[in-house]
Symmetry: C2
Subunit: 222 residues, 2 copies
């Protein structure tokens, strides 16, 4: 099934990386930004690397991107999380909103930002009572996502309280070559998933690697 997916704040490496992978999977992808020109430039940059899927990509303001999409992925830096979501609240009503934001800052290595709601995903859910909020994609490195020729060696841990929305997001994640989706529980588990990113960022620096997380021992093997 083909979806139209908006990436809010999607001009950064993580947003462009997810745009790459969703376009490769056959979806229509709209990269959103506060400035339409920046969004259009990012869409062209992504399309240039996957010319066979270039037509699937476009850029727009965040508001226009959201209006045109059924599925919205939030990929802003954490400091724009609340303001971005509040500004789009009405447009996001009724849609599946995937929060991929990690509350993290850098000061001699990655450090968590405390979120009163417990996690960025729970914060989004509390700000968007009329949307179907799911947490996913936090732990995939932009480097891996941006390289269209190499499968991703990682699981995507998916959290949420809406079982149908979570199933749809799991299926979407598994359309990315190499990814397995794992149901990581209700929204209250989101902070553990988000914080794995800090561990991985630290490990990446220490080992000069681009790592992901895998859950070992699940039925069906891996």
């Amino acid at each position: 099934m083909t979806h139209t997916i908006a990436l809010v704040g999607g001009t950064g490496p993580e947003g462009r990386g997810l745009a790459t992978r969703f376009a490769l999977a056959g979806h229509r992808v709209i990269i959103g930004s506060r400035e339409a020109e920046r969004a259009a430039a990012a869409a062209i940059a992504v399309a240039d690397r996957i010319p066979d899927h270039g037509d699937a990509l476009s850029g727009a303001t965040n508001a226009e991107a959201v209006a045109a999409a059924e599925i919205v992925v939030i990929t802003v830096p954490y400091d724009g999380h609340v303001s971005t979501i509040e500004s789009l609240r009405d447009a996001l009503a009724g849609k599946i909103v995937i929060d991929a934001v990690v509350p993290m800052r850098f000061e001699r290595g990655p450090r968590p930002i405390d979120v009163a709601a417990g996690s960025a995903t729970e914060e989004a859910a509390s700000l968007l009572p009329d949307s179907r909020v799911v947490g996913a994609f936090h732990n995939l490195t932009a480097e891996g996502l941006l390289d269209p020729t190499t499968p991703i060696d990682a699981d995507v841990l998916v959290t949420g309280d809406d079982a149908d929305a979570k199933r749809l997001v799991c299926a979407l994640a598994e359309q990315i070559d190499g990814v397995r989706a794992v149901d990581a529980g209700p929204l209250r588990f989101s902070r553990f998933v988000e914080q794995i990113t800090l561990l991985l960022v630290g490990i990446n620096g220490r080992y000069d690697a681009h790592t992901g997380v895998r859950i070992a021992g699940l039925p069906g093997g891996d």
Copy 2:
């Protein structure tokens, strides 16, 4: 190199599981408990399942176990964490102390217990300024550890501020069949490692599995 390893509060499944694996690796293992009889019974139960290594196992009070060991692993339930460590503070001075405790309680699924120090491991480090505190082994399931015939399919994420102690603990972890040790950073990363356990416990319930965590994409492959 053969070590003498004490498991403080080691009569539970996690303690007995680690005792099993350390004995299989050729170390002398002393299971500690508040009551010497319970410790002795646990040591016999472990020894019965690995008769070729039965001589490596004994039981003692926590204080006696610590006094006789160079390496001490803390495996008490979190509600006994501070009191146990405070009661053993002098005996633990100068030793390598591996904290494997997860601040977690159950109430319709696993829930984190807030620790003012950030994590159980940091709490132990602040209580034990004269010990060499390392965090490790939080994410290994007792079921897997207790089965001596099956390799463990999991990484052990090791945190600490003492590089030499961390290296020794990494080497110790890799003596467990199937385990790879990963340097997960300084002590301040401990809470992310501890909290992965909550994710895994949730996933285990949801998938009826005994899972572990693997870091994908490290140099050398996996």
